[in-house]
């Protein structure tokens, strides 16, 4: 059984169908890429999966459990985490505190604990800080833990978002254009990081425009165009799929390519 099973997911905004009956199955332990031209509905699909917008119809299952109706904050507790296309770190918090917010769902934060500060609660807090530091270590930001999050450079802010997303060891990690704005060296480091996250037991679903990155890293690729799934399969097969070439390059170029051989 797949870890994430999305079936005939549909959402309409004011008559416009942004995501149209999309099926998606993400196997546990894989790196799965969701690609497509601009406006294909990739980020909308992410927002549906993470519960930020309600679907018009269709269902989302995580490890066999239907989570379609769960509010966003509960999905974190189910082992789902994500990064955002436009970076959304908490500007007023330090780097370490940003990562600690990623543990919010797992930490029992009730008022009585906070006021009484019993030894058990303090141990839990110390443990959380240790895990947050470990996550920063993984993404290579261990030295910046106490800096203001806004003091980080752009690429580091992206890595901070990833640290915040992986600190709770989610079962499913969704990365929305993690390589955007990165130079080739940074992209390569990112690919290694994503593989390490996968090897540590987290399944990864990512949206990305950088085809070199996607083809090098993904075990499976799903292609969307105009809100519809037009292809799904291994990277090499998807790359040769005429429907995909047409979607990216337009029908004329695709026909010419086919004619050329």
């Amino acid at each position: 059984m797949s870890l994430l099973e999305v079936s005939s997911l549909t959402v309409r905004f004011a008559g416009l169908v942004a995501v149209d009956a999309v099926d998606l199955a993400v196997e546990a332990g894989s790196i799965h890429a969701l690609i497509g031209p601009n406006g294909a509905g990739k980020t909308t699909t992410f927002n549906l999966i993470t519960g930020l917008i309600p679907p018009t119809s269709g269902s989302i299952r995580l490890d066999g459990v239907d989570i379609t109706a769960l509010p966003a904050f509960r999905r974190a507790g189910c082992g789902m985490a994500r990064s955002f296309q436009n970076i959304r770190i908490f500007a007023g918090l330090t780097v370490l505190e940003n990562v600690l917010t990623g543990l919010h769902a797992g930490l029992g934060s009730n008022l009585l604990d906070v006021v009484l500060r019993l030894p058990g609660f303090r141990r839990q807090e110390r443990d959380a800080v240790a895990r947050a530091r470990a996550a920063l270590e993984i993404v290579g930001l261990a030295g910046r833990a106490d800096d203001a999050a806004t003091a980080l450079a752009y690429g580091d802010q992206r890595r901070l978002e990833i640290a915040r997303a992986i600190v709770a060891r989610p079962r499913l990690l969704l990365l929305d254009e993690p390589a955007a704005g990165m130079n080739p060296a940074e992209t390569e480091a990112l690919a290694a990081l994503v593989r390490r996250i996968r090897d540590a037991g987290t399944t990864v679903l990512l949206v990305e425009h950088d085809m070199g990155f996607v083809m090098g890293i993904a075990d499976r690729v799903t292609v969307l165009n105009f809100g519809r799934r037009i292809a799904d399969g291994a990277p090499a097969a998807v790359r040769r799929d005429p429907a995909v070439i047409t979607a990216y390059l337009g029908a004329k170029v695709a026909a010419r390519l086919e004619a050329a051989g």
Binding site: L52, I53, P54, P71, A72, F73
Partner: protein, 293 residues
Amino acid sequence: MLAQQLINGVLLGSTYALFALGFTLMFGVLKVVNLTYGFYFSAGAFFALHLTKQWGWPIAAALPAAAAASGVLAVVLDWLLLTRLRRINAPELSSLMVTLGAVLALYAGMTTWLGPDIRRLPAGVLGGEALVLGELRITQAQILILLATAVLVGGLLALMRLTPIGLALRAMAEKPDAAGLMGIDTAKLAALVSLVCGALAGAGGVLIGLNFNAIQPYMGEAMMLRGFVVIIIGGLGDVRGALIAGLLLGVVETLTAGYIDSGLKEAVAFIMLVAVLWTRPSGLFGRAHIQRA
């Protein structure tokens, strides 16, 4: 008796509708809950009081002049308070807080200057005879209110539907990014909307001052309560909703005062507001904007 109450209610409600129209338009187009709005209502009434009392103007001349003066005041205050926040794209609660602080300072300053007493328009202004139709009694002030409201609301709707600038305003109210797309200068737009809305509030102040013949610095604050109720019931930024909800509130208040207790009309208005929030949070005529996060 009931017919008389209904007529009084519709007349009162048409003033509420007029008042709320400017408030909701300001929100719809400029995306700001501008709490100085109630002050233009007070200011309009005081301008008219001054013009009729000190300068001996007839009300037919004092009403448009007071409305225009209130509109200019609104433009100035909008520029002073909100230009900076618009530039830095501040969160909506910032502009709400700024206008809230400003309106307290304005009311308190006006009260210090002019005193808290209730003032009355000069005797001749209101005209003498009431129109009597069988059992019904309609005062000249009420007729003026009806005429003025019809002209102002009709004029505004015509402006919104028929002129290019009106179409731009509607586009803005429906789609926030539209102004940028249509190449509209935000500063000019804010000035125009403030002028129109401030004038509506000022006219409302004159008309309510006429209806109850009582003018007082904080009258705009009491009116704002109605403004809040009307724009929540009608839907934030919804012009048609504001008109219908304004009339509805006027009738309900008048009936409450007539048949239950005049001291409870505010409470009834507030219960309507809470009931709408529970059942139809986007207003009786609007679509829902519920957040999932």
